[in-house]
Amino acid sequence: MASEKTIRIYALSTCFHCKKAKRMLEGRSPSRTVIDVDLLDGEQKECVLAEVRKVNPRVSFPTILIGDTVIVGFREEEIVRALGS
């Protein structure tokens, strides 16, 4: 099920749930961005963390944005719903 919505995944390269989210959302949108926050550093990392904190104050991962919907954690049903709605 492809989606026109923008997909943005904030993840950790060491996290298996993040990996499953990336896998599930592969090829699902022409505009999909994946950011492995643990691989960033310095100002860029702080900037991205500020983005995550805005939508998920606990700054946990994965934090997934599908259009305007924010999904915290690898929650398959919520992801499917957000893709389809």
Partner: protein
């Protein structure tokens, strides 16, 4: 340390305390690899599913096994990253559900 040694060492020591691997070999080994990666990166086995700072003192609560494992396994049958589960979870007697992050935002 290689993943096989880590697997055997942890499986034995943690099962004695009532914490089991899930039986999903792919996810267990991926998580163990995450621990080894963090050990190389930071010098300590920080939780693979949480962002470490690289400051051991600040990351003290997320050194694996994390400070939240006991409460999470009690409440959900699984720790946050699903590396460790209860016997009941492993035997399918407990619903396999998403474990929310207990740790305060950093």
């Amino acid at each position: 340390m290689d993943i096989e040694t880590l697997y055997q060492t942890l499986r034995k020591s943690q099962e004695e305390k009532g914490y089991h691997f899930t039986g999903d070999e792919e996810s267990t080994r991926e998580l163990l690899q995450g621990l080894l990666t963090n050990k190389k990166r930071y010098g300590y086995m920080s939780c693979p599913c949480r962002l470490a700072t690289g400051n051991r003192e600040r990351d003290r609560d997320i050194l694996c096994p994390c400070a939240y494992r006991e409460e999470d396994v009690k409440e959900y049958g699984s720790c946050y990253c699903n590396l460790y589960v209860s016997k009941a979870w492993r035997e399918g007697k407990v619903a396999h559900q998403y474990v929310p992050e207990r740790r305060r935002g950093q």
